[in-house]
């Protein structure tokens, strides 16, 4: 973890009609760290990711990536400069086999630009590359799993596939929108090394989580949101001790 700020959000606000989903949220993410975003249901975590990755337009505020302003860019352009995301509700390409799911990110201009073993060559090498990436993420190459239709995969594998789709783009930043939710303890135990490996490779991760115990194991810094406002930021131990965070999670009487 270095001291260079990679991604910086300033004063992001978003309202849906009368509902204020995000109010003036600002945060910085340093190069190579794992940054956690926590908060109760409906606190605006996913909306924040949607605003930053260009899936919805924020009403106000700016986003900077490597000192370049990317506010209001379309989603595909943001993905091309290296900011990718997974979806909370898994969105694989259901009618394609698992390894063919990765052809789509591998075909994108960003992956093509990198070429080499991950970009795939001109003559269908992408299949090989796709299976390589799947193996890296925990699909056994010689089993039937990578060749099954994505729709028939169990949840654990679909979550991994979401992550694999991001990795195929060779991203600088990955927004992981609840990659642990809906997984069993053993499946989570299998995911954590993947996250740590990505960090070692120099990828910056921003993780939105409800599974706090697992998040705090890997996260360097954590931000807590409640009703669209940032209520705490800092080390995981600091955040969990914060009275406003406790109030948000446990209610008034708990404090």
């Amino acid at each position: 973890m270095s001291e260079t700020i990679l991604l910086s959000a300033r004063g992001i606000s978003k309202s849906f009609g009368g509902l204020k989903a995000l109010a003036d949220v600002s945060f910085d993410v340093y190069q190579g760290e794992i940054y956690g975003i926590i908060g109760p249901n409906g606190s605006g975590k996913t909306t924040l990711v949607n605003c930053i990755t260009g899936f919805i337009r924020s009403d106000d505020g700016e986003v900077f990536f490597r000192d370049e302003e990317i506010t209001g860019w379309p989603a595909h352009k943001i993905a091309r400069i290296g900011i990718t995301r997974t979806f909370q509700i898994m969105r694989p390409y259901y009618s394609l086999p698992a390894f063919k799911n990765l052809i789509i990110p591998l075909w994108s201009p960003r992956a093509k630009k990198y070429g080499g073993w991950r970009g795939g060559g001109r003559h269908g090498d992408r299949d090989t590359v796709a299976v390589d990436i799947l193996e890296e993420i925990g699909f056994e190459r010689d089993s039937r799993v990578p060749y099954k239709l994505a729709a028939t995969l169990p949840t654990g594998y679909q979550k991994r596939l979401e992550l694999a789709r991001c990795i195929a783009l060779r991203p600088d930043v990955i927004f992981c929108d609840e990659v642990f939710s809906g997984l069993s303890m053993s499946e989570i135990a299998g995911m954590i090394p993947l996250i740590e490996k990505l960090k070692m490779e120099g990828v910056t991760l921003i993780m939105i989580e409800h599974r706090l115990r697992e998040l705090f194991r890997v996260a360097d810094r954590v931000m807590a949101l409640n009703f669209g406002e940032k209520i705490a930021e800092g080390d995981s131990s600091e955040v969990i001790e914060d009275s406003r965070v406790r109030e948000a999670y446990l209610g008034n009487e708990g404090v």
Partner: protein
């Protein structure tokens, strides 16, 4: 009585996934090539066989035009997720452009048809471009509206021949050229599309149908992919239109007729959505059928509708989906 049940077993030709076959004998090669060859040779022989019935040769030509339109519809609807009722738009634009190139610029047919195909496809894509963010039935309605819009404009402003249309277009120098041109174009489009949808580009297009948000998250612009898909489909439709203009030596408002939008859909429903070959087979059934039913006068619509309803109710998966399943599987009765 002993109870039995039907057991279905896949033939062991496919390896792990679609599109990879392990072929180890001539029998297996014949098994794979057979149906494809049957279609190709059968269609190529049609004009020769129909020497006996010249009227039906025309029907074969029209059948191939509809097959092209049905292919375009099947590709857009079942592979890219755009339910496009713009068949009439493609035919109309292609036909009128071919007429303009041929009559006003006096280009020969071998230049006017390719030019009309490419320019027409570009024009259609440009027209549809603003509505590409629309999905499902909204996109369908907008694309259905365009051909009506065009024919009304031509009628009201009396441009491009108005209601009389543009006549005096060159016909083809020989009858065989006329027939084989459209047949070969149709076969090329069929096998080209089949190849395209399994290529990497095709997979991206299928991704657009399955999950457009994931495609955006992968750094691929949805608009450009949809444009590409509409352009490819419009190429097929505009070729059909340009060909028809030369075939009838006339381009008129009937090129914007709704038949070109609706019959391809019926053909795809009958043939089997998402199989591509089903689109061709469907139009090979529907178009001759509607010609044949002409003998019944106005009663033909009733028979036509009854048949369509029958297909939708009893074989809603479509003919080719059903046949392909039967072809690729063994069936046998086993004891329970």
């Amino acid at each position: 009585m002993e109870e039995t049940r039907k057991e279905r077993i896949d033939r062991g030709l496919k390896v792990r996934t679609e599109g990879i076959y392990a072929v180890s004998s001539f029998e297996e090669i014949a098994y794979l090539v057979g149906p494809r060859l049957l279609l190709i040779v059968g269609v190529l022989l049609l004009p020769l066989v129909l020497e006996l019935a010249p009227y039906w040769k025309r029907v074969v030509n029209i059948m191939c035009v509809y097959a092209l339109l049905a292919l375009a519809f099947d590709f857009l609807a079942n592979y890219v997720g755009l339910v496009c009722l713009g068949g009439a738009l493609f035919v109309g634009v292609g036909g009128y452009l071919a007429a303009l190139f041929n009559v006003y610029l006096s280009l020969p047919f071998y230049l006017s048809i390719p030019l009309a195909t490419v320019c027409g496809a570009a024009l259609c894509t440009a027209i549809i471009l603003p509505c590409l963010p629309l999905r499902g039935v909204y996109f369908a309605i907008v694309t259905l509206m365009y051909p009506i819009l065009f024919s009304r404009i031509f009628e009201a402003l009396n441009v491009l021949g108005g209601t009389n249309g543009i006549s005096g277009i060159d016909s083809f120098p020989s009858e065989y050229l006329e027939e084989y041109m459209i047949i070969i174009a149709m076969l090329a489009a069929l096998f080209g599309m089949r190849r395209l949808v399994s290529q990497d580009v095709g997979l991206v297009l299928r991704g657009v149908k399955d999950n457009d948000q994931s495609v955006r998250a992968s750094g691929i612009s949805l608009t450009s992919m949809k444009c590409l898909a509409v352009f490819i489909a419009a190429l097929m439709g505009c070729f059909g239109g340009a060909y028809m203009a030369h075939l009838y030596m006339w381009a008129g408002l009937s090129l914007f007729a709704l038949d070109f939008s609706i019959i391809p859909i019926a053909a795809v429903v009958i043939g089997g959505p998402g199989t591509l070959v089903g689109a061709v087979v469907g139009s090979f059934i529907l178009v001759p059928l509607s010609e044949f039913l002409r003998f019944f006068g106005s009663f033909r619509i009733v028979i036509y509708c009854a048949l369509l309803t029958g297909f939708i109710v009893f074989k809603s998966e479509g003919l080719m989906v059903y046949l392909q399943r039967k072809y690729h599987q063994f069936e046998r009765m086993v004891k329970v």
